[in-house]
């Protein structure tokens, strides 16, 4: 277990360095930032001045090393738009996104666990096919469109929920449902698959044979084993939700880091863009690390694989 953890930790570290390099280089490779910052019709002298001012004329490796060294100590530079440091800006918006992703995950589980279990118990019946159909159709909808439809029905027509902003918990209801809805299908499939496998195993037959009620067999004996990969996938889904927040938060004008990212990208506020990219990527690296270790801890077969 220790060897597995150390090896996995090393991989996470190397990947972390790689994503930091990509987060930094990405904007440099895509085009000339100085021209992008100065605007289309700036004079060459202006462009040169900006290049000088932001240190864009130095070798990119030097710039990256300096940025990384500062980033490690929590200094991500200053925003070009807000009179604030990137780190402060991100920290002030992070709670919104974390609450959104947390609520989204809860909703995803509320949809996927019951549906997955029922689909597995009623395998190959119309219930199973119906649940699968919902999953397939759900995944085909563009998430921003789903969000707008909710805004139209529950916000504009019925007036039940606020349609933009992040002041109260009511503002989080629709975004969280949207986020959860699109994470539910993959969790549902995994729950169903796990339950089908477990329900046909010997120990479940034994539990049934000794006369335990069906509810106990399903919820206590079967679900406990079937849910291991689901729990692990949840942490990965949480990471996906952080990166998916950019669309959802923009639709609902929820002031989290996704909305901040979209604003910063539109305004060419590249220190903020780099900071958010780095943070979201590192979150994902940490969460997959957690998922792998969790899986290995709960299921010894993986450690040796």
């Amino acid at each position: 277990m220790l060897r597995f953890t150390l090896r996995r930790l090393l991989l996470a570290l190397v990947v972390g360095v790689a994503v930091s390099a990509i987060a930094f280089m990405l904007l440099r490779i895509s085009g000339d930032l100085a021209i992008s910052l100065a605007g289309e019709d700036a004079s060459p002298a202006d462009v040169e001045r900006i290049r000088e001012q932001y240190g864009l004329n130095r070798p990119i490796i030097v710039q990256y090393a300096e940025w990384l060294w500062r980033a490690v100590r929590g200094d991500l530079g200053r925003s070009l738009f807000y009179p604030e440091s990137v780190a402060n800006l991100i920290m002030s918006r992070l709670p919104v996104t974390l609450s959104l992703a947390g609520a989204g995950l809860v909703i995803a589980l509320l949809i996927s666990l019951p549906l997955g279990i029922i689909a597995a118990l009623k395998r190959n019946t119309w219930v199973d096919r119906g649940a699968l159909g919902v999953a397939v159709i759900g995944q085909a909808m563009p998430n921003f469109w789903f969000g707008l439809l909710m805004i139209f029905f529950f916000g504009l027509t019925l007036g039940w929920l606020p349609i933009s902003g992040s002041d109260t918990w009511l503002h989080f209801v629709m975004p969280a449902i949207t986020l959860g809805w699109f994470s539910a299908p993959v969790l549902m499939r995994l729950t169903r698959g796990g339950m089908v496998e477990v329900m046909t195993s010997d120990y479940i037959r034994t539990a049934r044979a000794k006369g335990l009620p069906a509810r106990v067999v399903v919820l206590k004996h079967a679900l406990r084993n079937a849910i291991i990969p689901v729990v692990a996938l949840c942490s990965v889904q949480f990471g996906n939700m952080l990166s998916g927040s950019v669309i959802i938060e923009t639709v609902f004008a929820l002031q989290g880091i996704g909305y901040l990212a979209w604003e910063a990208i539109s305004r060419r506020d590249f220190p903020v863009v780099q900071g958010i990219l780095l943070l979201v990527a590192l979150f994902y690296v940490a969460l997959t690390l957690l998922a792998d270790i969790l899986n290995a801890w709960l299921d010894p077969r993986i450690r040796r694989g």
Binding site: A18, P142, F152, G244, G258, S266, R268, Y284
Partner: protein
Amino acid sequence: MSDITATPPPMKLRKKRGRILGNSGLILAGTVLGLITLMAIFAPFIAPYDPYLQTLDDRLIPPAFIDAEMADPRYLLGTDNLGRDYLSRLIYGARISLLIGLLTMLVSGVIGTVLGVAAGYFGGRVDTVVSFLITTRLSLPVVMVALAVVAVAGGSLQVVVLVLGLLLWDRFAVVMRSATMQLRNLEYVAAAQAVGCSTPRILVGEILPNLIPALVVVASYEMAQAILLEAALSFLGLGVQPPLPSWGLMVAEAKEVMLFDPWVILLPGLAICVLVLAINMLGDGIRDVTAPEGRS
């Protein structure tokens, strides 16, 4: 994932045909996708109007099934807030979605397949490097990275395809890697090695043909993903640029008038939905037909 990486045993042609015809989802999805493709190819002959033509006197005319009194028989699906014929824009929009979906799938398919097959066949160091690349790629937030690159490089069709192609290869690599691993240990590959076939010949002649069923399934999934992502990027204003009739862009333009004319938002979203659903169902259908045991 094991169900799509399993290699199908040879199947008699007649049995296969029966399976295809017996799979109603596959037939339906294929028909819908075929119709959308024909619509996209022959758009100039089918569309009743120029999709860019603005008739400012005829703005936001609803279709007959929304409001029979306000409807105008000249515009079957109404007009948008610049007085452009909605049906024509939806028809031309299919071109953008299909083109971007197809090209992105090709770019990411080539990258992912080359990496995955190399990792699965050679193993060892190559596998370590490819696995590292896959993990790194998965850590990058797709939408944010794509938005950032389009913001700096410009929102042309080529940039969108390139960015999405460079981001969506991971699933190809993962599936091709494990499928190749299974194949390389089979006897006929060992036999080919024993009689002295060169490595490229084994890869192209023996391995690749057997990967095609899994490849088609992943390709259909990734094409659907690319279409959804293009729509999202265009919706956020950092994808295909106006006045192109991208379905995602049409939803963004409709957002401003959704309070009084919600149908404007409904139609392009439904179009995306139908196309993505057809592609996904086609992929699922092909998986069911090629996997001998079917869905478990």
